[in-house]
Symmetry: C2
Subunit: 312 residues, 2 copies
């Protein structure tokens, strides 16, 4: 199978699936903003997280990896470890989407389900690391290998020479946007990058406004489960504080509307976090009106029941 011609080599060439670029004329007409979708929903394991996971799992010498993830990073790390012949344990909240728990188990990883009202992820990580001293603990975002893995998406965007004036991407722990910025800049590309964050978990937007890293009091109960983070990672903040051109704070209702529009007008199945960039355009259309926007769709893994409650 021949490669995409626009793409130069990057550290994960031939391992990750290149980003899927989808022109969306019907959606653009509806939004009154010309958008191009940069979809990672067809990435291996269904989200961009596989880029980071493979980079971590293939770079550290440890044969065992441990992570705490509400789903996509866990699934991605489990898949990467299976490909590399390593073992993997994933700490997940009991409330995680059923499809995500099943998918992690299907990859042969051990799932450690926790009740987050009784023990925090961090505390459980410490417990398990005490029992597994040989393991590498992989943060889903606050890790240099994670940023380096996600940077391959920025490199692809740079190499594709897309007709866009800026890129909008979801912000949770900041691993994706920090990676995109790092990859673009490594390729000498100055395309602006704007974040899209749930309004009810707007720690990154507040951090950017105030110039110092702040945290939510608890994990925000946003639909966008990939953005249920208490704060940006320290490594991510170092990249984002001067790198992002801004963050749009997205109400929950706009996330649902974006999921529905992507289904109806672009034939794309996305998960709530994956809809954040399009939801940002819906939230603040004036900000984007005269610009061509590349919307990063970070992933597509979602339970059918929840999905149908949003598109019905």
């Amino acid at each position: 199978m021949k490669p995409l011609s626009g793409l130069s080599e990057h550290p994960l060439s031939g391992i990750v699936r290149p980003v899927t670029v989808i022109q969306a004329p019907r959606l653009s007409e509806r939004l009154e903003v010309p958008v191009v979708l940069l979809s990672e929903t067809f990435q291996f394991t269904g989200s961009f997280k596989f880029r980071a996971a493979y980079r971590v799992a293939s770079s550290v010498p440890n044969r065992t990896l441990l992570t705490a993830s509400s789903g996509n990073f866990g699934q991605a790390l489990a898949h990467a470890c299976r490909l590399l012949g390593k073992t993997c344990t994933v700490i997940m909240p009991q409330t995680s989407a059923r499809v995500k728990i099943d998918a992690v188990r299907e990859e042969g990883a051990t799932v450690d389900l926790i009740d987050v009202s009784r023990i925090s992820r961090q505390a459980r990580v410490r417990e398990l690391m005490g029992q597994m001293p040989e393991a590498y603990f992989a943060s889903a975002y606050d890790d240099d290998w994670v940023i380096a893995g996600n940077a391959t998406l920025g490199m692809e965007i740079a190499d594709l020479d897309l007709p866009v004036d800026l890129v909008v991407a979801p912000v949770g722990g900041g691993g994706l946007t920090a990676g995109i910025l790092t990859g673009l800049r490594e390729r000498g590309n100055n395309l602006p990058v704007t974040g899209a964050e749930p309004l009810i978990g707007n720690d990154a937007a507040r951090s950017l406004r105030g110039g110092c890293l702040v945290a939510n009091e608890t994990e925000p109960a946003t639909l966008a489960d990939g953005a249920r983070t208490v704060s940006l990672g320290l490594r991510n903040w170092e990249v984002l504080r001067d790198g992002l051109t801004g963050i749009v704070e997205v109400p929950e209702a706009r996330i649902v509307e974006a999921i529905r529009l992507l289904f109806l007008m672009a034939n794309l199945k996305v998960e709530p976090t994956g809809a954040l960039a399009v939801a940002a355009v819906l939230t603040d259309p004036e900000r984007f009106r005269t610009r061509r926007v590349g919307c990063v769709i970070s992933g597509g893994n979602v339970d059918p029941g929840a999905f149908c409650s949003w598109i019905g």
Copy 2:
């Protein structure tokens, strides 16, 4: 935006979106058959029909086009005519999916809704052609320009040099499979092509078995609305009678199962006709067990309500 490198020029290069190739390891494991998805769900207007529609509308001298279509070809022709500054009328059954009627109107075409229990599509075409003698009547499948347009998909499959041993594609009027065969063979590529047809409308399978073109008594009430055809077109039959390696007859329940598996295991939103190729693998896995199968996903346009009744 740079083109896909594997692709040589074809008559619709730069106009149609190249086929989206999706490796689907989870789905392949579930099917126990290695499949690659060749998706036209992100083609302009959401199905492969835009290839044929643009080729017809740009090739005939007439300024007005008329067609009878339960949806995708109508939407595609309407879009092509809008791009080309031509006018378009689409005869549609009142029972067509709401999203398809809306989409045709959104493109600026005139929709002529008929009650198929009172007047056949053919009779209504004759009526309207009497009123619009200057119009070109475009068959959705039995037309040399339609086959030539769909042949561009076969050329792309040939040029991409995919790791597949055969291609499976839906059969309704036969425009898609005839086009794929024509395009592959024009490129000197001998990849076998197998059809996937609803069991309850198996005129093409019966025609192939008997060696002569036979018709269903009425339009079959299959979920796969793109295959609700009474018979193959004459031009299509000429290509398919010796071109196809066979046709798998797909029960309705397998179509629903394929829609659901594509949603869960490949993050792909497909319409029932678009699911036929994967449904064929589910129906007759032994036929495909030792081969790598390229499954053509013909389109993705479907009402949310119907879709959720299948994936729920």
